[in-house]
Amino acid sequence: MQESGRPRLAVYKLSSCAGCQLQILNVEDLLLDIAAAVEIAYFPMASRQMDPGPYDIGFVEGAVTSPEEIQRVKQARQQCRLLVALGSCAAFGGVPANKNRFAQRVVEQQVYQHPEVLNSVEARPVEHYVRLDATLRGCPIHPEEFLELVKGALIGATPRLPNYSLCLECRLRENACLFAQELCLGPITAAGCGALCPRLGRSCQGCRGPAEGVNLAGFARLLQEKGYERAIIQNQLGKYAAAAPGVALAMAALRWEEERR
């Protein structure tokens, strides 16, 4: 910390849509209070002032998809006492990891006539390269959880964020269950969004990634029993969390069981 005694905060961007950074600015009611409580030392999207590290707490938005980003995330780790994944891209690969289903060159050719000049690697979550101290889930993150984390950093305690299934949260809010009609990822996705989509008549798409301790393999099997094709299950589980722990394993188990039959 600096003489001011305020923790110094940094926000890094990797491959992402900037929506999670925007969520920080979307805490309009408290934005000025946050800026008074912490020193926003490095946040290019918000400020031209980019003070050098070290920082007390760093937020990384985005998946790691290029050699430069690998360097950057390693540097972020060195610069920050606490490093936090800001959203599902940083936490689980997020939407960028959808390209991992294809060979890199195949995807590149869809977009570029001269892919040989590109320099992109498989999309990975931050933790593939460096240790993380906390994770903020969601596509986008929930501003409340960001606040909890900042407050936690101020008092030196890890905040307790929901790490159980959305299904539990959804039932407690008495939404009509959509599982029978739609492919809903509620049973295995982490809570914390207030069951937003089911409340609005849409099945959970899994943007907060798998909750701790849920049965991903069992869920994939259940979906198959319900008649979903493996490719659909793969697309759905991988939409926001292709690189989350357990997802690849659950899909491998499904494939293995399919082959055994």
Binding site: L30, D33, I34, A37, L147, E148, V150, K151, L154, I155, R160, N163, Y164, S165, C167, L168, C170, R171, L172, R173, E174, N175, A176, C177, F179, G186, P187, I188, A211, E212, G213, V214, N215, G218, F219, L222
Partner: protein, 345 residues
């Protein structure tokens, strides 16, 4: 099964108009909580006086059971500001729960054992004393009901203020408490002397027979304790997703967690209580990270053992009322009736 002696008090007959009158009279003293059907589901909620016609007596089990009115899924218990605590009181007007199913009524009695026993919960007790219970007897079971196995339905036996049975276009109303009796007297509903009594007895017998899903409760705790390694546990642990939905909807699951939330000034904040579930990972985690129920199978077993064995050890009753909500809710189709039957095979 149930002799006519079960119908302890006089039966009064209310037609559609006097039933409405009864509700309006209740609404003068109490906030009315009742099952209503809206947005493709049935929920228990507080009705405004002009919504009383929405009360549904023959509705399927509400998504959340009656426990939610005694302990909301999430509640703020107190607020604090450095050194000062502002308790938020026990809240709530006196209210009437209208149209809860007999199984849910039984569940309230079980929760009473937990929350007003040795470790009395002031907030819960206060709210319990404030309420007036109108139970609606079930004529038809719903697909997953197995209340008869735990004598918790389909007709209520005791501990209600009023019981209502909608039969042949009328409401047959009985008082189960002094407060209920007084209320009916003031309302001046006629007591029946005629065939209604016999109809009620027949309806009860018929309703009981219609509940075909059964749990054999003979020596059930012992059976469970002898089968801790039965293969069925691994089979259901394979299917259970650990989502915890079953515990959210269970009328007797009472576990909650408490968390303090600071405001950004780091001086003030609030203490919140929220329901939690033994099926989620963090439930049994202790300091330094050890978790005795790290394996899913341990969590699955905990839930069922608690309902059918531990609760019995502690309170002398089963912790299940056979409402069928967990079966209805489980996307993986896990059914305790089925699991317990397998243990006997």
């Amino acid at each position: 099964m149930s002799p006519p002696a079960q119908i302890a008090t006089a039966v009064r007959v209310a037609d559609e108009a006097s039933w409405g009158q009864l509700l309006r009279a209740l609404a003068q003293t109490y906030d009315i909580w009742a099952p209503v059907a809206e947005k493709n589901r049935v929920i228990l909620r507080c009705l405004s006086p002009d919504e009383l016609d929405q009360v549904k007596l023959d509705a399927p089990p509400t998504l959340l059971p009656a426990k939610k009115v005694y302990r909301a899924p999430e509640e703020t218990l107190l607020r604090f500001r450095k050194g000062e605590v502002e308790p938020l009181g026990n809240g709530q007007h006196p209210w009437a729960l209208v149209g809860i199913h007999p199984c849910d009524l039984r569940a309230i009695q079980l929760l009473d054992r937990v929350y007003t026993g040795f470790f009395a919960d002031e907030r819960y007790s206060h709210r319990r004393q404030q309420n007036f219970l109108v139970v609606a007897n079930c004529l038809q079971p719903f697909p997953h009901c197995f209340c008869t196995s735990f004598q918790s339905g389909p007709f209520a036996r005791k501990e209600y203020d009023l019981a209502v049975t909608p039969l042949f276009g009328r409401h047959l109303v009985q008082a189960g408490s002094a407060a209920g009796e007084a209320f009916l007297r003031v309302l001046g509903l006629p007591e029946t002397t005629g065939s209604e009594l016999a109809e009620l007895v027949a309806a009860q017998a018929q309703a009981e027979q219609a509940v075909t899903r059964k749990v054999n409760t003979d020596n059930l705790p012992r059976l469970l304790n002898m089968n801790v390694d039965h293969p069925v546990w691994d089979q259901i642990a394979d299917r259970c997703l650990s989502c915890g939905a079953c515990t959210a909807v269970c009328p007797t699951c009472y576990c909650f967690s408490v968390q303090d939330r600071l405001n950004l000034d780091l001086q003030s904040g609030e203490r919140r209580m929220a329901w939690t579930s033994c099926l989620i990972m963090e439930f049994s985690r202790v300091a330094l990270g050890h978790n005795p129920r790290h394996e899913r199978v341990a969590r699955v077993k905990q839930r069922l053992y608690h309902k059918f064995s531990y609760f019995n050890d502690q309170y002398g009753q089963f912790g299940c009322v056979g409402c069928g909500r967990c079966v209805d809710t489980c996307v993986a189709g896990i059914d305790p009736v089925e699991v317990l039957a397998q243990l006997r095979r």
